[in-house]
Symmetry: C2
Subunit: 175 residues, 2 copies
Amino acid sequence: MRIVLIAAQSLDGFITKHAEPGTAFTSPEDKAYFRAALASFDAGIFGGETYRVSRDFIRDRLPALRIRIVMTRSPGRYAAETMPGALEFTSAAPAVVAATLQARGIQRCALLGGSHVHSLFFEAGLVDEVWLTIEPVLFGGGTPLLARRADLRLELQTSEKLGAHALLLKYRVPR
Amino acid sequence: MRIVLIAAQSLDGFITKHAEPGTAFTSPEDKAYFRAALASFDAGIFGGETYRVSRDFIRDRLPALRIRIVMTRSPGRYAAETMPGALEFTSAAPAVVAATLQARGIQRCALLGGSHVHSLFFEAGLVDEVWLTIEPVLFGGGTPLLARRADLRLELQTSEKLGAHALLLKYRVPR
């Protein structure tokens, strides 16, 4: 199973504008690419905060994703929202989550934020690729791409323009 | 006079690796590009900390720069290092520094860090272009590109590879 981190950020590395949750700052071209890209994945992993901010989007507008996993310290809080086999909540470690998805036949899994989930999966050595949209904005503050210090070297695979001023950069994470 | 911010950063937006000063993380291709690029500038502006970290480089290895300006709250501390007309220390505001350089015939000025100087010049509306090298690394912490919050929209001009995995992105700052 391949795990691909997909995110959009400001040029200076923030996945939110200041304290505003969500990705209202991204371009229409990024939003269109993001929906199209997700069609090639059969599972998605989200953090609890990302789920709370984008709940309707995650529940209703990601039809390609057979299984959506929300990583949370309190899965019991979400018992009423659980849809077994389609939307599940877990406090398991990333390696357990990945192994479980693989055992269920998932081949391509998108890692869809936020920064804590990004750091958790990098720290477990489970990220295969990073697909990062760079919007042409500077925020000087906000939620960083990673929640904790890291020292990772990637390999640039492709770079393409999304619309007039955004860039989509795809990196491989060497093992 | 055009003012161009030139910097190298990690993919997640840090101009230093964690608390390590300097840019040891940048690729040989970026270092070669940086030296070649500076040949087209006739002045450079640095913050006091950047000067202290890169003192020998700034004093001796930037022959193209006719005038080097160090922005510091304590210019008197550097009286013994001042070379009038070549290396000067000032606590003046960015607008005053820019007007003075322009009056002395400077046409192209490079803004060379750190994050406080970047923010000062953006806040004064004095940055015309941003030339940013994106190294294929994730640090999850370090000195950010800007010291303070901002809300700036840029226009992508060009994107090119530097070596196998770094990218040089050039943006215009609309006025």
